[in-house]
Every structure is written in C-alpha cells, then in structure tokens.
C-alpha cells in the first residue's frame, strides 16, 4: 500500500511518499499560511502526477501533520468562543492559579483568555467531589445560554463543569441542550477533551480545543474533498501530539490533541532512525531557525506525558501560557535556533536569545536587513557552515556581513571576534545540554548513555559540541534531515490515547472494578483505531497507570502488569514498577501506602518501516576544504568538506571534517570518527 505524508510547517510544507514498490521519495513546497491546504494540495498533486505509475490510487493512504492548531492559538486566529461552567466559576480563565511566573518582574502579564468574560456563562448545577450530584442541572439556564450564544453568532463553545472528570453526565446533557437550541454549534466537553482533575487546567485545554475546532474541521473537510476529487477514498490520518495517527473525524473533534503534531512526528522518526541504526534508546535533537526540541526516547518509544503549555506571554517562560493537559510526547523546547540573536546583557555578560531574527530579517549573513549577530552568523564565522552550499546553494550568504555584526558585539564585551563567535556557539550548546539534563531528571534517564539523533537545519551543526558536553559517544545524522517529520508520519502507528481518573488504593484493590474500567477503555480505543482501517485483531492495547503515595499530589506513570496474573503477584509487580521509577526520579522512597489515580490506555495498530538503502558512490566524496575552528585544537584548522550522499558505506574517516547535506551540515570535531551506514545515515563516534 502506498503512503503519502505531508507536514505543514511555517516556511515549507514537506512531503514524503512511499510508493507501491516501497521506494521513498521526498518533496518540498512553500507553505501557504493563509490557507495551508493550498500547499498541501499542490504538493500532493505534483507527487501523484510524477509517480502515477507506482501508486495505486484507491489504496493510497494520506497522512498529515499540521501547524493549523498551534498557529490559530499563537496568532489568536481561532473563532469567537463561548465558555460554560458551573455557575459561580465563570471567571476561572482569568483567575488562573494566582501565582506569578517571574518573581522580580512587576510587569508580568498572561495572555488574555481565549474567551472573554462577557462570553463566559454559568449553568446552575453542582457535582460533589465524590461524583454525586448535589444540585441537579437546571436545564432552562442552559437553554438561555444557547439563546445568547446564537444571538451573538458564537459558533464554538467549551463546557467545563466542576468534577466533570468524575461525573460527565451533566456536561453531556449540556451538550444535548445546546445542540437542541442551536444545532450548528460546535460543543467541546472537558470530560471528552481532558477527563482529568484540576479545573483550571482542564478548562484551559477544553477552551483551546473549542477555539481551534471550526478551523481544523474546515481544513480537514477541505482536504478530504480535494483528495476525493483525485480518487483518494481513505480518510486522512493525522499525527497527534502523542505520536499516534488518528482518523480525520477525531482530528476535527479534538484538534487540541494535534497541537504538537509536527514535532511529535519528528520524534517518531528519530526513534525509528535510532532503531535501524541498531540503537535502543536515543536522544532526539531537532534544531531549526527559532527553536530546538530535545526528546529522550527510551527503548525506541518516546515518553508520553501531560505537561504542556502553549502561547507563553513571555517566550519560553514556563507558567506564562495556557496549560494543556493532553497526552503529548514529552520533549523540551528551547528558545534557541539558528536565528537566535546574541547580545550583551546589563551585567556585561553574553546572552543568546530568546529574541530571534526569524526568517526576516534573518541572520546578518543573509544581508536581508539583519544587523545583530545570530547563532548562524557565529556558525558561519567558525567555518561550521559554508557560504556557497548554503541550503543547497539556493541563496547568497556573506561571511563579511556576519563578521561586521559580530565585531560590534565583541567590542562591547571586550573580547575578540572569534572568541565571541565561539562563545555564542558554546553558550547555545550549553543551553541545549542543560535542557537535555533537565529533561532527563524528569524522566529518570541518564542522557550520557544515549546516542543522539540530530536533524533540522542546525541540528547536525551543534550535535557534536552538545554530545561532547553531555558525554554522549555517538551522533546519528539521518538522511533527509530536512523532511524528518514527514518521514515520521510514514512510520507512525495509528494510535489513540484514552484515560480515566478513578482513584484506587493498592490496599483496597478492586479487581472487578479495574477490569470493567479497562475493558471500557479498550472498547472505546478499538472503535477509533478500527475506524482508521486497522483490523481489530491487530490492535495492541498498552495500559499504564498514574500512581503516587496516598497524600501526594503528583503522580508518576508506570506500566500496568499483566492483568491475567493472580491478584497478589499482580500487585507485587505493580508496586515494584512504582518504587523502581520513584527511586530513579527522586532518589529516596517513602514508607506510605500507594494508590492509582488515573488509568491510561494506548490502543494502537502496527508501526510501519521505511528504509532507503544508501547508494554508495565511487566518485570522490570530497568537495573541498575550509578553515574551521575547533576548541580542542584551540585554533582554526584547514578542514576537509565531504558530500554526505557521496560517501561510501561503512568507510571510517577521522575528524575534523565537515559533512554537507542539501539542507544541513554536520560538524565532526577532532575527537570524532565518522562513516555512512547502509541506510545512508551519517554516524559520528566520539572518542
């Protein structure tokens, strides 16, 4: 079966096609931000035309990753949205959690809520903490709200009632009433979107869903229509933040789950590249123009968690955005990319970012109006990035312009230009290393034992330096580093994540209760996954539980043992899993009883495989040489430049060296030895 993947990004929409014969083809077109579907349709048409002979159109599966949801929130281009909650709590979105994300800055702000106070409504009802009904839902209050929404022409509404994660029936009734009075309205329920405890987080997640839903529904429908015209019958499958694919219908209903669609696809790809390179666990490192993403992938599977935040008022300041409690691949986003600006701070020290020169004006070297030195300018001056073969030689880059910008900053810091450039490169590497270590603490993994998979425009440039800081011994730069996320889509399984909060103490374990709950989750999962064309008998169900000591407020996620085990053995195994992770994360264990809070299921189909054998070249892979700075040598050294795609398989070459791809450049320092493996990946071993 042929598969065609598209990944809509800020600048480019990337495509990867796996044809009937299993051959992989890559493609890129400029994105069309006003209507992202245009670029998708254009790219799909071009590929279908070019490869019509090797694609059976009736069987073709189209897969998508998108920034539509993220951008709607970041640019506040969603629809006018309503909010319905338990009467008395309409200000929940403004009140937040009452804390401050910066201690000394008196001028902090939060993003304005996506729903105004005037569009927030209270429904008369109340559910108690144990899930019982204290006040029956007064239906006329909901009908009245529906009337107001209709009058104002509000097309989408988020409903979040207190304790609805435990008792969803009131929310469901609210939805029915709203639809009765106002059939065209999109209703998002907190008990569907995010059935978890803590009302503000749940409301925030539900509101983002409602705010983006009409737009995503329109996008999905538009593409489905266009594809149908071309004879493509299957529903498009979309990448969720947790790294699984879901059918169009679910994507249109739960768009908030697609908020990290592209980065999740990148992580899935990195896991696969790690696997085919013979590695179990890897650290994925994706560095682009404005940000970088780091993701620890233990045992070939990215870790999935629920800590996410979007639309930070202050860039990258944790706590300054909208919290989202959705299943997403745990990764760290760092506000440093090739375009990050370096400057002198008030203390006279060097800072890099969070300001970015973006695509325009871009780094000083691009000569498009940028005058402040960026990370890319530093990388050019150090010789890491060439000036001729930049992005495949498609545009001109000036080393002199980079030097001029750097000279000003170096002067203000009273250091040499070269020292300044190296300082920028090194400071960025340090931030990345630090973020990787923080991420590792969160997940209880030692990053030093892992190989790194580096991609994105700037990833392979910085990978060697970061690996050295972290003590990482091997770096893998995959082939096609420019369209890695699209490749990830081809590999990813169909998968859906479901959860239910239902506390159960280990001391009072209820086997029947557990089985009922899990069977219910499994039935829901099977419905979604089979709708995406997965045969029911091939569905894998993986259960995990969020556990804590009784009395704690934060849970850790551990695997649920085999349910067929006898109760005692089952519980012994469960506790063992819990204590092991607890010790890894927090160093000490506590003598207190343990409970499960949330039950989770990931129901998935099978993963696919994509390999593209490397065609070893007989011609000389050397492209030339240039002066490159290496800290270990303390100076600039004339260094050979190689063409990644011409390197012969498995032939070891000693660093220092520069290895160029069309969209990225890999730096190999003097402590590195590298080769290209049979799959075309560049492997750098660090001594």
């Amino acid at each position: 079966m042929a598969k065609l993947a598209f990944d809509t990004g800020g600048t480019f929409t990337d495509f990867a096609l796996l044809d009937d014969t299993g051959a992989l083809h890559l493609h890129k077109v400029l994105s069309t931000p006003k209507n992202p579907a245009e670029a998708v349709v254009q790219g799909v048409s071009e590929l279908l035309e070019q490869f019509s002979g090797v694609i059976t159109i009736e069987d073709l599966q189209v897969l998508g990753a998108t920034t539509v949801v993220t951008n709607a929130v970041l640019e506040r281009k969603g629809v006018e949205t309503g909010f319905v909650t338990t009467d008395g709590f309409q200000d929940m979105l403004r009140i937040r959690n009452e804390g401050r994300y910066d201690l000394y800055d008196l001028n902090i702000k939060y993003p304005d809520p996506l729903v105004t106070r005037a569009n927030s409504y209270g429904a008369a009802e109340r559910i108690a903490a144990d899930g019982s009904v204290m006040t029956e839902l007064k239906e006329e209050t909901v009908r009245e709200i529906a009337g107001r929404l209709k009058e104002k022409g509000i097309r989408s509404v988020a409903v979040c009632l207190l304790h609805a994660y435990k008792y969803p029936q009131h929310e469901q009734r609210v939805a029915a009433l709203l639809r009765e009075e106002y059939p065209d309205i999109f209703v998002s329920l907190s008990s569907d979107v995010c059935p978890e405890m803590r009302e503000f987080d749940r409301a925030s997640t539900t509101v983002v869903n409602a705010y983006t839903r009409p737009q995503m529904a329109g996008h999905v429908a538009h593409l489905q229509r266009e594809f149908a015209k071309k004879g493509i019958d299957r529903q498009v499958l979309w990448m969720t933040s947790s790294g699984g694919l879901v059918p169009s219908r679910r994507a249109a209903e739960l768009p908030v789950r697609l908020i990290e669609s592209g980065p999740a696809a990148g992580a899935v790809a990195a896991a696969e590249f790690g696997r085919i390179a013979g590695e179990g666990s890897v650290l994925s490192f994706d560095m682009g123009g404005t940000t970088a993403k780091l993701c620890l992938i233990p045992n070939g599977e990215p870790t999935v968690g629920t800590d996410l935040e979007v639309a930070h008022y202050q860039r990258f300041r944790k706590g300054s955005g909208f919290p989202l409690k959705i299943q997403s691949i745990q990764m760290i986003e760092i506000g440093a990319g090739g375009g990050s600006i370096a400057a002198r701070n008030p203390l006279g020290l060097l800072d890099v970012g969070p300001r970015s020169a973006g695509a325009l004006p871009g780094p000083a070297a691009y000569q498009r109006g940028g005058t402040e030195p960026t990370v890319t300018d530093a990388d050019i001056l150090l010789g890491y990035m060439g000036t001729e073969s930049f992005v495949g030689g498609s545009f001109k880059v000036s080393k002199d312009a980079a030097r001029e910008a750097m000279a000003k900053l170096a002067g203000s810091l009273d250091v040499s230009i070269d020292r300044c450039a190296w300082g920028i490169h090194d400071l960025v590497n340090e931030s990345m290393g630090k973020a990787a270590a923080m991420h590792a603490t969160d997940l209880g993994v030692d990053p030093r034992s892992l190989p790194m998979v580096a991609f994105g425009g700037a990833g392979p440039v910085h990978a060697y330096g970061i690996a050295r800081k972290l003590g990482i011994k091997r770096v893998i730069c995959p082939t096609g580093a420019g369209v890695t996320s699209a490749i990830g889509l081809l590999i990813a399984p169909v998968a859906v994540d479901l959860s239910a909060s239902h506390p159960m103490a280990v001391d009072a374990w209820d086997v029947d209760g557990m089985n009922r709950l899990l069977d219910d989750l499994a039935a829901q999962g099977a419905e979604v996954v089979s709708a995406a064309g997965v045969a029911k008998e091939t569905i894998t169900n993986r259960y995990t539980v969020d556990m804590r000591h009784v009395g704690q407020g934060h849970e850790i996620t551990v695997a649920l043992p085999d349910r067929s085990l006898p109760k005692e053995a089952f519980l012994r195994q469960l506790l063992e899993n819990f204590y092991k992770l607890y010790r890894e994360l927090f160093g000490r264990t506590v003598a207190a009883s343990v409970e499960v809070i949330t039950w989770r299921l990931r129901a998935s189909g099978e993963k696919d495989q994509v390999t593209k054998p490397h065609e070893s070249q007989v011609s000389d892979a050397r492209k030339g040489s240039r002066q490159v700075y290496f800290q270990e040598l303390g100076s600039y050294t004339e260094t050979t430049v190689y063409d990644h795609y011409k390197l012969p398989v498995n032939q070891e070459i000693k660093g220092p060296a520069i290895v160029e791809q069309r969209e990225s450049t890999a730096v190999v320092g003097p402590c590195g030895v590298f080769h290209v493996d049979a799959n075309g990946n560049l492997v750098i071993n660090i001594l």
Binding site: I95, L103, A118, E199, M438, Q552, L585, G587, Y629
Partner: protein, 558 residues
C-alpha cells in the same frame, strides 16, 4: 582563544556556569514539589530551594520562589547554622534543620533545612530548602496566640540525619506533636531528597569543570551582581524618602512607617515610627522584615539579575526593638505575613516620587488571605487544610494590575477539585468583583468573592487570616484606593483574624481587596474604559462617577 573554565571573569564562562547553578536549584525544586505530601507544599508551592556557598552566602535559587524564604535562608545559614555547627562538627550525610522563627522565616510552620555538600572531605557548599509544613502543633494557624509557646512546637537547629542515618528521636517528637504526622513526615522527606539532589548535581558540575570548590565562582557572581545593584542605586538621587500605611492589625490599627535612605551606592531602610509589638501572632521578626525590604528594592533596582548574595549586600534596614517589625523573641508571629507582606507596597509608596514609572500600586495579595479549615470528617477522622485567596495586583505604570494575584509572596492556590477532596467543604462561588480595582490611568486588579459551605456533619472551624478589611489598598502616583476586603458569615461581618465556626450547611463569604490604581483616573483612555465596561470589570455607574465617562457603552455588560 578559549579561556580556561577557571577564568570566572570571562563573560561567557561565567554565564554558562551561573546558569547551571540556577538549573541545579530548579532540579531540586522539581523533586521537592513532586514528592511532597501536603497541598500547601505541592499545590501552593510554599517552599524554596537555594544553593549556598561554603560561607553560607546565596549562590543560586529556584526560579519559582517565595521572596521571603530566599533571603531568610542564607541569613539563617550565616548567623546561626554555620556558627552552631562549624565544619569540624559535621560529616557527609548530615542534615541540619530548625523551625525556630528567630533563625528562619518568622513563624513555626516553616522548616529551614541545610545539608552540607562535601567534596574530597571538605564542605564546598550547602544545599538549603525551606518549606511550610501543613501543621506544627499548637493552636491552628491564626492570629490569636499571645506568645510563641501557644503556636506549636519549636526545635532548635538539630541534626535530622547523622551521616545519612535518621535521628529518630527528633522525627518521633515531631510526629507526636502535630495533627498531620504523615504529611509532615512526608514533606520533611521531600526536603531531604531535594537537598540531596542539589548536592549530587553540584558535585557533577564541579567534576565536569575540574573545580575543587565554588569559591572563585561565588566571588565572581557576587561581585558582578553587587556592582550592578550599586550602579542602579547611584542612578537614584540621594535623599530620604518616607511613607506610612495603616493596617487593621489585630484589634487596633498598626502603623508601618518606612524611611528609605539613598546614600550614593547603598540603601538603608529605617522603620522608626512603626507601631509597637502586639500580644497577638502578627509580629514580624528581623529576618522576615529584612527579606521584604530587600525584595521590594530588587524589583525596582534590578529585576533581571538572578538573585544572589551580591544583590542583597548594598541594602540594610533596621527597626526599633520592641516594634512590630523587631519584636522580642517570646512574641507570637504565626500570621506575621498579615503585616510583613505590606512592606513592599510601603517601600513603593515611599519611592513613588523617585521612580514613578517603576513603582506599583498596593496589592490585594498583600497579605495572602488564608482559611485554615479544621474539623472532623463523617467517619471520625480529623482533617486540616489551608486554602488561600488573593486580591488584585496593584496597577503598574504600563499595565493594569492583574486580577487575583499572589504578591509579594508567590503561592499558587489549590485547585477547588483538589481542596474539596481533602476537606468536606463546598466552594459555591469564586468570582471577580467588579469595581474592586482602584481607579487610575491604570486600574488595580480585581479582588474575588469566594463562598464556602460546610458539608460535614460536624461543625467546621475556619481559622482566618485576613487584612485590609478596614484599610484598603492604596494607589500610587495619584491612583485611587481599591475596595477593602470583607468576611461575612450568613450575612454578618466576622472578625477577620478569628475562628469562625460553620455548622452543617452554613456559609462563609470572603471578598479579597482590590489592588490600588496608578496615575490619575481622568487620564485613563476611553477605549480601555469601554473595554472594561464590555467585560463587566467596571460598572456603568463607576465609569461615570469615577472615570468621568460620558458615552453609552456599545456592548452592555452581562
């Protein structure tokens, strides 16, 4: 070209290493919060982690902090912990702790814990943490005690762990003296774990950079930060700038008076003229007062530099012995925040003529309001848990104040859904109060109205800690006052610092104060007034009478 890592004056080396130290404190913060048992620690984040150098000076602190804790911790280390336990008396694995208010943060529930970090047999640094335990015995947290002995147990600086082995006697005494032994024990364990992580990570850092100690690095951080603070002070004209504020106090008004004396590159704050100490739990000890003086000035002088000892050194303060800001050691201080939290607003007021564009109106979050709910569940077990409420932030020169914000402290509140599981109380409403923000060119943030109802069969005792009921938050730079707070049970005003008993089904209603305004109300733009009207943040009546708004709003508030 590359300089050795030991060149701490290199602007790049220093930045890289400094960031790492902050990161180490954040890692410990993460461990403490995620493993803690009590809602006040894990949900409200009423704790800090600080890395101290070998002399007990603050080196780096967690990013999400409580201002008063981070200045108190190094002061406690330098003045009390290190003198009592000099290096020759401690060994690797020792953990020192106390809850003495004079040493720590001014009240008994806060435990200050310090763990020496050893490298090659020498103490190279100390890991420090402070957390607010959910109970410490004595009368439940409120303002009625007349001396410290009524407020709970007090343990001096003790070795909680000796060479890694728990000093069980101490743990047992604490467990036997508090209402919530499991939570208290669990939180202490979390602090120990957090300090361990700081030690482990610091040693990794030292190995990575081939350093034997942090002394050189500490000097570089401190001297650069100190120079920056002094430079900022020099931009202010020399002089003495004074202000005073009246607070409700316990039963009589309390006056706080501050004279901020700017002298070249240092600042001294003199609280002469402040009311005398009182026979209730609202006296603020020296460490606590000083921490707030330093905090307010850092916000104005240099909010960017990560806080450390160098930022503190140029600032001193004093208050007359026997005043409410420098009370005798035997006095009670459980609810000292009711008075102390207002110090930053007072300093801002004193400096409104010096730096009008930096000061902020008085905040309704000063002080934090707390309702400590204690009672018996239907199954006969005991419960006790604190919920916090904040008023509106004061207005800033550029922006309106934020609604319902913790200031100067930094406590999140417990989610209602969490609190209702811990305590048989129903929150019936939690909503903003229109018109509560002080008018001004920029408006103060709004306060909130919260209604609590006892669901249990047994009566519930709510120990209240609230202020600004008679004296509202003031505006600055000609901004107006916000509205005062209210505490009402079944329609009747309650004593804001007392115990309120709710029988089954009875309700307590609290209204937190609105923040003070900034600048003249007449200068507020019509556009923003109309926006406030559309959002119902002000009423049409207030628009007319307070702001002189003459139009008819296009969108009526609902």
């Amino acid at each position: 070209m590359s300089k050795p890592a030991t060149d701490f004056n290199d602007p790049i080396n220093l930045q890289v290493m400094w960031n790492r130290l902050i990161f180490i404190a954040d890692q410990a913060d993460n461990v403490l919060g995620k493993t803690a048992f009590s809602p006040i620690v894990r949900e409200n984040h009423d704790y800090v982690t600080v890395l101290l150098d070998s002399r007990g000076r603050a080196l780096a602190q967690c990013t999400w902090s409580i201002p008063v804790f981070i200045t108190s911790l190094p002061a406690a280390a330098q003045k009390y912990f290190l003198p009592k336990f000099p290096v020759e008396t401690i060994q690797d694995g020792d953990v020192l702790a106390t809850n003495d208010p004079e040493i720590g943060t001014g009240h008994l529930p806060d435990v200050t814990m310090i763990t020496p970090i050893f490298k090659n047999g020498k103490v190279v640094a100390y890991a420090g943490s402070i957390a607010h335990l959910p109970d410490i015995g004595g009368a439940p947290l409120h303002s009625e005690a007349s001396d410290i002995f009524e407020e709970g147990i007090r343990f001096p600086i003790v070795k909680l762990l000796k060479a890694g082995v728990p000093n069980q006697d101490v743990f047992d005494i604490i467990a036997a003296s508090v209402r919530l032994p499991t939570e208290v024990q669990g939180d202490l364990e979390s602090m120990i774990a957090a300090n361990n992580v700081m030690g482990r990570e610091l040693l990794k850092f030292l190995d990575e950079y081939g350093l034997d100690n942090v002394d050189g690095l500490a000097d570089a951080i401190h001297s650069r930060s100190e120079a920056q603070t002094r430079k900022a002070i020099r931009d202010w004209p020399n002089g003495t700038y004074s202000a005073e504020v009246l607070l409700d106090g316990y039963d009589v008004d309390v006056k706080l008076k501050a004279s901020v004396i700017v002298r070249d590159d240092s600042i001294h704050v003199d609280y002469t003229g402040t009311s005398d100490q009182v026979l209730h739990s609202i006296n603020c000890r020296t460490n606590y007062r000083y921490a707030h003086s330093v905090y307010a000035l850092k916000c104005l002088l240099d909010p960017e530099t990560p806080n450390n000892e160098g930022c503190i050194v140029p600032i001193t303060d004093e208050a007359p012995l026997g005043s409410i800001l420098n009370p005798q050691p035997w006095t009670a201080g459980n609810s000292r925040n009711l008075i102390g939290h207002v110090i930053p607003s007072l300093i801002f007021r004193a400096l409104e003529g010096v730096v009008p564009n930096k000061v902020m109106g008085d905040s309704g979050g000063a002080p934090i309001w707390a309702a400590n709910c204690v009672g018996q569940r239907d199954d006969g077990t005991q419960y006790g848990s604190v919920q916090n409420f904040h008023g509106g932030q004061g207005a800033r020169a550029e922006f309106d104040g934020l609604d319902t914000l913790s200031f100067p402290s930094n406590c999140k509140v417990t989610a209602i859904e969490m609190f209702e599981i811990a305590v048989p109380v129903l929150t019936e409403r939690k909503e903003l109060i229109a018109d509560s923000g002080g008018a001004g060119k920029h408006r103060g943030g709004l306060g909130q109205r919260v209604v609590l109802r006892n669901l249990g069969r047994a009566p519930m005792s709510i120990y209240l800690a609230s202020e600004r009921v008679r004296h509202p938050c003031f505006g600055v730079v000609e901004g107006q006052n916000g509205t005062a707070g209210k505490v009402i049970k079944e329609g009747k005003p309650q004593f804001p610092k007392g115990k309120v008993t709710l029988k089954t089904g009875e309700r307590l209603e609290v209204e937190t104060p609105g923040g003070g305004g900034w600048g003249r109300a007449s200068e507020r733009s019509v556009e923003i007034i109309e926006q406030d009207l559309a959002e119902g943040l002000i009423t049409p009546k207030a628009a007319k009478t307070v702001y002189g708004y003459k139009g008819t709003p296009a969108v009526a508030a609902e």
